[in-house]
């Protein structure tokens, strides 16, 4: 948000050469019939937001869940910070499409749940959770229950929970797909602001071309089943400007158009 924070981010994306997440020759089969992913090779540079974009059934969520360690790969490997992934780890945090909040727990307990599972004492974990609840713009809702919140607010809790465990990599599985359009745009803008404060590597699954172009440093286009990497696009849009300016930027509009031309063949 501040000029200093912006400068930090500029540096971090400048030396983004070192990948935090590496995907090597990854393949995934469900049973003997369905081949979800084939031969995926990808690097996710530190501090960048990479979107996985593609039509439904291209295996983008599957890829994200394999990186998260929630699903085993059929072949190939994933490395995070040079370590081979065999399951979930403390350096990765997941944001779920359906929020996955505990209905019986308040906002603050939900946001602190990752820390609760790690055995962090109550006072400490709630302090951290309150900090991130504030950061995602939910101050004042700490003691509400999820059913009292709108979809957008629930996902903010999901994001606060992922931020609270202080992971290097945030994995976001279509986080805005169950959020209405206005809140979705607001949330996207807030996510861009948040990135300037929190230096995280983000991997973002979406089926919205505009969302991917608006948010991403890199966009990985996946082809339909079996999912393969068909193209990697770097939008090169300066994000220091206002959201409206970004959405009217010619580079933004051209990138959306290019991706659409690439994907329209896959539409039914």
């Amino acid at each position: 948000m501040t000029a200093a924070a912006r400068a930090v981010r500029a540096i971090s994306s400048a030396d983004a050469a070192k990948p935090v997440v590496e995907v090597r020759n990854l393949g995934k089969r469900y049973g003997s019939q369905v081949e979800a992913l084939r031969d995926i090779n990808l690097d996710f540079p530190a501090g960048q937001l990479t979107s996985l974009l593609g039509p439904s059934g291209c295996g983008k969520t599957t890829l994200l869940k394999i990186i998260a360690g929630l699903l085993p790969a059929t072949n190939g490997e994933v490395f995070v910070n040079g370590q081979k992934v065999t399951g979930p780890g403390p350096e990765r945090a997941f944001v779920f499409q359906d929020f996955a909040l505990l209905p019986w727990a308040t906002v603050v307990r939900n946001a602190a749940f990752g820390l609760e599972l790690r055995g962090v004492p109550v006072a400490e974990r709630e302090k951290t959770a309150r900090h991130y609840i504030d950061q995602v713009g939910l101050s004042g809702f700490e003691n509400r229950y999820p059913h009292e919140l709108s979809g957008g607010m629930r996902q903010r809790v999901g994001l606060a929970r992922a931020l609270a465990v202080n992971a290097d990599v945030l994995l976001l599985d279509e986080p805005f797909s169950a959020v209405d359009e206005q809140n979705r745009r607001k949330f996207q803008e807030d996510l861009l602001k948040l990135r300037q404060v929190e230096n995280k590597t983000l991997i973002f699954v979406t089926h919205s071309i505009e969302e991917a172009v608006y948010l991403s440093d890199r966009i990985v286009l996946l082809s339909p089943r079996p999912g393969r990497v068909s193209e990697v696009i770097e939008p090169r849009i300066s994000r220091d400007r206002s959201p409206d300016q970004i959405r009217r930027d010619s580079a933004y509009l051209d990138t959306v158009e290019t991706i659409w031309r690439g994907l329209r063949d896959y539409a039914d």
Partner: protein, 276 residues
């Protein structure tokens, strides 16, 4: 309330579910309507008894007086103690075993294969038909009564526990794993709280089945407790006393099942407190 629970003993366990659904949405006006429904029911009973539709059907007021008499002479309290002992032991055992088995079957495939078919058969079969068999094996003592409570209450508790665990949101479980929750944490912090509404629904059905079991046992095999009180007063044509005993046990069952829901909300579901 007594309208609903009348059918519970006679008709089966579905009425318990209905009773549970109505207690969940209570409020001032709902309470008022319920009271009105009870008053109306008692009034209809009074009128029907005064017509009379049957010599064996006394009006409500006489049943209330008879209730006073059997409380005063100590037969009702004594009968309750007799009935409650096997009921409490049986329900306690069925709850403990049922929940452990049910949750176990939901969590582990081996247990699922071994257990589920047995409980499905037990639930589908008219288990009351086995009560004479139990008498044959265990005689007419406490054991037989406890067993008849268990065979009626256990299947529904275990199967509901199993289904409850199976219906736990997969995304909540994945969330717990992704934030490095251990298996133990997953079970206690996610699966059990998420499954608790269905587990408790099973408990409510199980407890009302337990009431059926104990009364059946008392009517069929061991002439003691409330069952004996009912049989005895029927045999000497003391119909008011007979109805008083019947109504008391029905009311008692209804209150027990209602209390259970409060316990559930207090223990597992704080978010429902303000709506309950």
């Amino acid at each position: 309330m007594s309208v609903q629970t009348n059918s519970q003993i006679a008709g089966g366990v579905d009425a318990a579910r209905e009773g549970a659904a109505t207690t969940a949405t209570s409020g001032e006006s709902i309470l008022l309507w319920r009271l009105a429904s009870i008053v109306l029911f008692c009034l209809a009973w009074e009128i029907a008894g005064r017509i009379p539709i049957n010599v064996a059907f006394p009006p409500f007021s006489e049943v209330v007086m008879a209730f006073g008499r059997i409380v005063a002479d100590g037969t009702l309290p004594a009968a309750f103690l007799d009935t409650l002992q096997p009921l409490v032991i049986g329900v306690f055992l069925a709850t403990a075993v049922g929940i452990v088995m049910g949750v176990g079957m939901g969590l582990r495939e081996e247990l699922e294969w071994a257990g589920v078919p047995v409980f499905v058969v037990m639930q589908a079969a008219p288990m009351a038909a086995l009560i004479p068999l139990i008498t044959f094996i265990y005689g007419i003592g406490l054991t037989a009564k406890v067993l008849s409570v268990i065979i009626l209450a256990l299947p529904v508790i275990a199967l509901n526990g199993y289904k409850a665990v199976r219906n736990v949101s997969p995304s909540l479980r994945a969330m717990c794993r992704s934030f490095l929750g251990s298996r133990r944490q997953e079970i206690f912090k996610v699966i059990l709280p998420d499954a608790s509404p269905m587990i408790f629904a099973g408990l409510r059905l199980g407890i009302s089945a337990g009431f059926v079991g104990v009364i059946l046992a008392e009517l069929l095999i061991t002439p003691t407790g409330i069952g004996d009180l009912i049989t005895y007063h029927r045999s000497i044509a003391n119909y008011s006393e007979m109805y008083a005993a019947i109504a008391t046990i029905i009311l008692f069952a209804a209150i027990t099942v209602g209390l259970l829901e409060r316990i559930e909300i207090a223990l597992f579901r704080p978010e429902k407190k303000e709506h309950a």
